[in-house]
Symmetry: C2
Subunit: 332 residues, 2 copies
């Protein structure tokens, strides 16, 4: 295995200032931190004289299209312009090559630099990882700020929109435990530069579909409480999904419904994607209980406060009992 | 009518530093900005040598009890200690005497100072109003910061918790259009002082009851869209409320459900509190459309982006048609 070098902040800046046609990769199932950071980097590189193209294994969700500001219609590999002479590949917000999805086979061994805020996993390229950052957008902010101070790039409203969206998204609108004083200071500077923060937050957070709302309504009917209301589980059997004509994506917000209940410390959504007895659990902690350790008991994983796993059981009730009985209630 | 003096920031500090038994009034139906600002002021006055008591016409909602940190069990007038020799009355976060509720008759003519961030209405006492502030908590922050710099008060964690909660609550967790760069800077300083921001936000925002969730589920079944999905209305007839055994308070979050849908510019909840044909509308704008002007057509009012009114109609459908047809769709 190659030894990959950790990079200093100045080394990252030096490398970015080298003019080269660049691919910018970001993780599959992309969120606003991935997309905002990638397009912010594309704008920075453009100012520095480099052509760049943002690439992902999945197309952008329509709700995040505003982050591209018309720069690219598609981020799929097929969209890469023929005349781009790729001399550099940078990944952003991607903790492991597996998160590249179908880009893995195309580029996993050719990545020159990774820029990320996830403190987990092994680096797969020369890397700048700032685990204290709440979002990769915070790193991009620091890069943009320094280059702007050196008058090497301009600070446009679209750049600031990408950076603000990246940071606001990964912090749940500045509500989560990953927010640091520096996060708020960066947000203050972005507001001073004139971003329409309320509109960005509206686009990021008020973006439910009617089908997602119907899924929520049905999910609320399948709410189960345990441990004096400290554990809330929303189950969603396959038959219910079929009966309502819903897709798996429509069920994405269910765990947040469980989490929104007063007094709930551990929130769980338990979905049955197909007819067979395999159940997908999303688990969130609103306390210091380590739900990644809980999910590891079922060969799953994730973060301390947000994790997931797959459970085999006869029905949703059995799956729920398996998962709930693995929680140490005395530690809640 | 008496002429009430606008006060400079220094005059406010001077007045607060005068030792005197003090009543702190805040508005009825209290929110975290009212409660957090009031109890922050009580703590500040205590450090300055003054006894103080927080008073409201309504008891505190249980979900906001954490802001008192055991200082007071009740805020009703009956709770005022017998030995308090009231020499000063200060109102916080209360734009008009009418918002005092039942405190109006008791104290409206005796208020010495009002501290508020609402730029609307006539002052009813010598006043420090900072309309640029997103929350009264921002003003209390500035007061606490200055007095701490002069080493006249200590900066305790409970004080910072009150201030952070006040600011986070009135800005929707830093998501709304009232957030300024200074708001983020104040939040940064409060985080530096060690408040558990994620826990506070959890207590502020993840506090739904099961009955509120059941109301949401029923409300989603009564969702109506107009103007290509730019207007969303959730209706809640009296009969439905009765059938589900819900209270009026359970229906409070319905307009936020309508607002959370992608593409919605104007969100409305239309509730029928009693059996007769009187409907209560809550209206929110996610654009620059002035919903207070809309509600004024029905003798209601409020803010540009959040307003309300009462409509007389035969049934919810007629009330909805009256309200929706008053919206200038071409301006959305």
């Amino acid at each position: 295995m190659t030894d990959f070098r950790p990079l200093s902040f100045d080394e990252v800046l030096d490398r970015l200032c080298t003019v080269a046609d660049t691919l910018i990769l970001f993780h599959r199932n992309p969120d606003a931190d991935a997309v905002g950071s990638a397009f912010a980097l594309k704008r920075i590189l453009a100012d520095l004289g480099s052509r760049a193209w943002c690439v992902c294994s999945d197309e952008l969700p329509a709700r995040l299209a505003f982050l591209t500001d018309g720069e690219q219609e598609s981020v799929l590999p097929a969209s890469i312009p023929n005349d781009l002479e790729i001399a550099r590949i940078i990944s952003v917000d991607t903790a492991s090559p597996a998160q590249l999805g179908t880009l893995y086979e195309l580029y996993a061994d050719q990545i020159d630099m990774m820029i990320d805020h996830h403190g987990t996993g092994e680096p797969y390229a020369d890397h700048y990882v700032l685990p204290d950052a709440a979002a990769t957008g915070e790193i991009m902010f620091d890069i943009a700020k320094q280059l702007a101070a050196e008058e090497r790039i301009s600070v446009s409203n679209v750049l600031c929109t990408d950076l603000y969206a990246a940071i606001s998204s990964d912090t749940g609108g500045f509500r989560f435990s990953n927010v640091t004083p520096e996060t708020h200071q960066r947000a203050a500077e972005l507001l001073e530069s004139g971003v329409d923060a309320a509109e960005i937050n509206h686009l990021l957070f008020d973006c439910k579909t009617q089908d997602q709302l119907r899924a929520q309504a049905a999910g609320i009917s399948n709410l189960h409480l345990f441990a004096d209301g400290k554990i809330a589980v929303i189950t969603f059997p396959f038959a219910l999904k079929m009966a309502l004509g819903l897709s798996d994506a429509d069920l994405d917000g269910l765990v947040e419904i469980a989490r929104s209940i007063a007094g709930v410390k551990i929130a769980i959504s338990l979905r049955q994607p197909k007819a067979e007895g395999v159940f997908r659990a999303s688990v969130r902690a609103s306390c210091s209980y380590d739900v990644s350790a809980l999910c590891a008991k079922f060969d799953g994983g994730g973060h301390v406060r947000a994790a997931g796993c797959t459970i085999t059981a006869a029905d949703t009730d059995e799956a729920m009992q398996k998962l709930v009985s693995a929680i140490k209630i005395e530690n809640l």
